[in-house]
């Protein structure tokens, strides 16, 4: 089992979390053209190495997180809140 260090709850087993998806995607604005939406929703890289993923601590604080994970070794390199506003608050307080 992978251990994910939730910035709010501490180190927890991955069965407390739900895998989201590709965390590197910047979703277009609701009015943006279909090609942008197509690329954001359907074009995915299949990375052998470190990729950014979204996970939600669904059986914990329910926060969405950005996780950098090595797909070859399952090693987790970093975990941070997906909400940029919260990152700013955390940084200010630390």
């Amino acid at each position: 089992m992978i251990i994910i260090k939730c910035p709010f709850c501490g180190s927890r087993g991955h069965n407390e979390f739900k895998y989201g998806g590709d965390g590197s995607i910047k979703y277009p604005d609701l009015h943006d053209p279909i090609t942008d939406w197509h690329d954001a929703v359907f074009q995915r890289k299949n990375i052998a190495g470190i990729q950014t993923e979204t996970w939600q601590h669904i059986h914990g604080c329910r926060m969405w997180l950005l996780v950098d994970r090595d797909t070859l070794t399952h090693k987790i390199i970093s975990v941070r809140p997906a909400n940029p506003n919260i990152i700013n608050i955390l940084e200010k307080n630390s």
Partner: protein
């Protein structure tokens, strides 16, 4: 063969049963030891050829398997050499009929030519020349007979009566294996202040110390372990190391202590900061003629049975070796009274080995190996081969009653394999050593290729950094994997458990299956319950010599967990029966049960299904519920709907973004039906949204999608639109919900309200929402309808659910009302053409369900762009319709396919998603999707075909709004 206990006292005697016969063993014996002490050497029949098999080891690499227990407690394919003996243990030999001594299946030994490797694969293609390549009718015929005679023990079909437990733990350092290196590793770490757990698969601590004649050192170390508070777990196997140093252990409880109702095994998930693998090494044998005869075992087994169990395995013992590890054992066996001959494959011995046996009467033959063993049910005679002038030739024959083999040692590197680079073949030591691995997984002792006890003890000193990089040491060993002389007359076994022989491996080579992974699957080498602990390396070496390659070039197949077999029960542990999954009960659950409610599982929920009157069946009860609801009034528990409170100044913007229709214009005190899409334009979920105040909404979701929608909305608010000022709270469990539906529902509500006028048509119009006090409790009420009747949903704070539902029910009873369950709810929504979970299956667009008029053109929303993809808007897509059978007496179910009468096979033009008997129509009705929907030609004949249920009926395609299409009943 004459096996005997060295000390013949009767202390600690234990009774056990072998094939139904009462025998005596001793406390501390394994089943193998107790069988040997009773002179039961021949204990099993082999997998494929039904050859006599005996005990081959004293550990996990055992080649003979037995069945334990009877009936529901049967445990087949158990390794007797690791099974702890206890009082009244019942063990049976397996794969023999009618009996172990006279086994009919032994005939297969002489037909073995037909059962070589790849036999099954070839049979699948067909029998040449008649069926070659055509099919497998012969195989289909023979299969059932072959399955009967080839195989392992039989599992019981009864439920396992035992209980299993699970446990999670965290530790600084986990030491696996309690031999000389493991115990010392645990002590050194514990002395340095670490929290240490030491696990041992055996029922006694000590590992290889237990095989030593002198136990003094072990006893001292055991005292130290207690003194330094090392957590000790015996009977505990670490069967796998998973990600992030998560170690799976299975702990067996003392079998003599398990009475009924007690826990038998425990799955233990241990997270360690560092893992020390002191897993030792396994002694190998080599392949020679009839090397599977009872009476042939490893030298270490001979030592273990002598020193640990006080059993001398023979009077005339031959030891065949290629390394130094056997000489001490030879001397001990000799001193215990056996006549010992050593055959050493090497040309010369070191002085220390020579000195060891110098003063004994042990006979030593150098340059000699076993070529073939002879005997019927036990080894009697050994034919040797001798090297002369670099050529091997047959040599003398020697009588014996026991043959002990040592062809080198294989470090137990299995556990770390998923986290390491490939194991490295050491030519010098003739074994695979651990590949480069995770720095938090450390090998010590013979698992790291360190062979003598003193050095193993030193390697256990893990705290001293300098010792961490201990190199494995030199070992005088001559690689020996098979008899050097070709031997086609008798079988030379590589894998005892799966009956794989040298000729099978040569056949695999000849047929081109030369890669290790192909070799393994073609011959089934190493695929039995021991996973090739003994045979794999021999197999690789033989393939290597056929290919003219070194073993390191051949490679090794990947070791995967579990290390030794694990009971499924332990893996399931408490997750069975009621514990199989979580159970969610609505706040009305207990009350429902008092009303004779039959529950149905919906996801994790227990949901009211129907309320039978006396012994009514489902359809009768639910039809009754529909009729009463449509005539008077019905009450339904809808607490399972997802409920999400949305608050904040930007709540309206958020809703406009997620729903296809507009919410910002919704006035306070009103509700609206909404549909939300996924990014890709398909429907995610539907439900109602109630505007409670300017910046507070209650979102309801379907039961099944509640969790998914909540998580999705959280993702949107946190990840995509972090600047929107909103807050989401799941309130599903805080509110109990009940629908009150039917023409008399307003009358029921009027009785509940303090002031009747509050709920008049004017004050609470269709889609109106308000707070309503029932008794003194503030509830939420909305006039919304899923059934098509005048209807309300009342949300009651969960704590008051049971008292208020009683009150509501009292009033409804006065109007001849009923309770209805999910079955009647389903029937009514199908009659009305309202979509449910079976329509919104994730492949359906808003256009498909004909609700595109709801789409707001003034804004965009999630899914708005991609719902306009070419394929999703093309004409002719299947659209929602109602389905009537033409013959009103015919029945059909969901899952049926729709065809035109011109083409009634192949890809259908539509399908049925929901079907029910409609008490209002008086016949079966359905909802489904069909190409072009209602725009199809009226003259066309549509056939509904359901091959699974043998249904083929003509149907009419009608509007999905089958009952009260004008919606008059909403406003009575």
């Amino acid at each position: 063969m004459t096996i005997q206990r060295v000390n013949k006292d009767n202390k600690n005697a234990i009774s056990f049963y072998w094939n139904g016969k009462l025998l005596k063993g001793k406390k501390g014996d394994t089943l193998s030891a107790a069988l040997l002490a009773n002179n039961k050497l021949f204990i099993a029949r082999s997998f494929k050829y039904h050859r006599p098999r005996g005990i081959t080891s004293s550990g996990v690499e055992e080649g003979a398997l037995v069945t334990l227990g009877k009936n529901a407690s049967t445990e087949p394919n158990v390794n007797p050499s690791t099974t702890e003996l206890y009082n009244n243990l019942e063990a049976f030999s397996q794969n023999a009929w009618p009996s172990l001594y006279f086994d009919f299946g032994y005939i297969l030994n002489f037909l073995s030519k037909f059962f070589a490797a790849g036999f099954y694969y070839k049979m699948f293609i067909g029998i040449p020349p008649f069926e070659w390549g055509k099919g497998t009718s012969a195989w289909m015929f023979f299969e059932k007979y072959i399955r009967k005679i080839a195989g392992f023990g039989k599992a019981s079909r009864q439920k396992d009566p035992s209980d299993y437990d699970n446990l999670n733990s965290f530790i600084d350092i986990l030491v696996i294996g309690s031999g000389p290196s493991g115990i010392n590793a645990a002590l050194s770490a514990s002395k340095a202040g670490f929290d240490v757990m030491l696990v041992e698969q055996d029922f006694e601590l000590g590992g290889n110390y237990l095989n030593h004649q002198n136990k003094h050192k072990l006893n001292l170390l055991k005292e130290q372990l207690l003194k330094y508070h090392v957590k000790l777990k015996t009977r505990t196997t670490a069967f796998g190391i998973y990600d992030d140093k998560c170690v799976a252990l299975v702990e067996k409880f003392d079998p003599s202590q398990i009475s009924k109702n007690k826990i038998r095994q425990r799955l233990h998930i241990c997270r360690a900061k560092k893992i020390i693998l002191a897993t030792g090494a396994i002694e190998r044998t080599y392949a020679f003629g009839n090397n599977d005869l009872p009476g042939i075992m490893t030298v270490n087994a001979g030592k273990s049975y002598l020193n640990r169990y006080k059993i001398l395995v023979g009077k005339k013992i031959i030891i065949s070796t290629n390394n130094d590890s056997v000489y001490e054992t030879a001397l001990e066996l000799n001193n215990a009274g056996a006549n010992v001959v050593i055959l050493d494959a090497r040309a010369q011995l070191s002085n220390s080995q020579n000195n060891l046996i110098k003063n004994s009467n042990i006979r030593l033959l150098l340059n000699t190996v076993v070529h073939r063993a002879l005997g019927k049910k036990c080894v009697k005679l050994v034919e040797t081969a001798k090297e002369k002038n670099s050529k091997w030739q047959k040599s003398i024959r020697i009588n014996c009653d026991c043959l002990l083999i040592s062809a080198g040692w294989s470090p137990v590197i299995h556990l770390a394999a998923p986290h390491s680079e490939k194991p490295v073949w050491s030519h010098e030591q003739a074994c695979f050593l651990p590949g480069k691995n995770n720095q938090d997984i450390i090998f010590v002792g013979s698992a790291a290729g360190i062979w003598n006890t003193l050095n193993c003890e030193k390697s256990g000193n893990i705290v001293n950094e300098n010792k961490l990089n201990q190199k494995s040491e030199k070992n005088s060993v001559l690689p020996l994997f098979q008899t050097p002389i070709n031997n086609n007359k008798s079988k030379n076994f590589v894998d005892f458990q799966h009956d794989v022989t040298i000729s099978d491996i040569k056949l695999a080579h000849q047929e081109g299956f030369t890669s290790v992974e192909h070799l393994k699957r073609y011959t089934t080498l190493g695929m039995a319950s021991d996973q090739g602990k003994n045979g794999n390396i021999i197999g690789l070496a033989i393939m290597g010599s056929a290919l003219n390659k070194e073993i390191n070039e051949v490679g090794t197949s990947k070791f995967r967990p579990p290390y030794t077999p694990v009971t499924i029960g332990a893996l399931a542990s408490r997750n069975k029966d009621e514990g199989f999954k979580l159970m969610r009960r609505t706040p009305f659950h207990e009350w429902n049960k008092t009303k004779n409610c039959v529950m149905i599982e919906t996801g994790l929920w227990q949901r009211p299904w129907f309320y039978p009157f006396e012994s009514q069946k489902l359809e009768d009860a639910s039809c009754n519920e529909v009729k009463i609801t449509r005539k008077n009034v019905g009450i339904c528990d809808v607490s399972t709907l997802g409920k999400i409170m949305l608050q904040g100044p930007d709540a309206s913007i958020f809703l406009d973004n997620i729903y296809i229709n507009s919410f910002s214009k919704l006035s306070v005190g009103k509700a609206r039906y909404g549909i939300m899409l996924r990014d890709d334009g398909f429907i995610l979920d539907d439900g109602t949204v109630w505007r409670i105040s300017e910046d507070c909404y209650l979102i309801t979701t379907t039961t099944n999608q509640a969790g998914i929608v909540m998580s999705w909305l959280e993702e949107l608010s946190q990840v995509r639109w972090p600047d929107l000022q909103i807050h989401l709270t799941s309130v599903t469990d805080q509110w109990a919900g009940c629908a009150i539906a039917g023409p008399k529902s307003r009358k029921v509500i009027e009785q509940l309200a303090i002031n009747k006028e509050e709920v008049s048509d004017e004050n609470l119009p269709f889609m109106g929402v308000k707070k309503l006090k029932i008794e003194t409790i503030e509830c939420l009420i909305a006039r919304i309808s899923f059934s098509g009747e005048l209807a309300y949903e009342v949300y009651i704070p969960s704590d008051f659910a049971n008292s208020l539902i009683e009150k509501i029910w009292e009033e409804a009873s006065n109007f001849n009302g009923c309770l209805y369950g999910s079955e009647a709810l389903g029937t009514m929504r199908i009659e009305k053409g309202h979509v449910g979970g079976s329509e919104l299956d994730g492949r359906v667009t808003v256009d498909d369900i004909q609700l595109n008029k709801m789409i707001s053109k003034k804004k965009s929303f999630i899914g708005n762009t991609l719902r306009l993809r070419e394929g999703l808007i093309k004409p002719g897509r299947p659209r929602l319709v109602g389905i009537f059978p033409i013959d009103k007496n015919s029945k059909f179910k969901s899952g049926g396919l729709l065809y035109t009468s011109e083409k009634i096979s192949g890809y259908p033009i539509g399908w049925v998603t929901s079907a029910t008997y409609s008490p209002m129509m008086g016949h079966y009705i359905g909802l489904g999707f069909i190409e072009n929907g209602l725009d199809r030609s009226i003259n066309e004949e549509i056939i509904l075909i359901d091959k699974l249920k043998s249904i083929k009926i003509p149907v009419d395609i009608v509007s999905p709004q089958m009952y009260d299409p004008e919606g008059k009943k909403l406003n009575v």
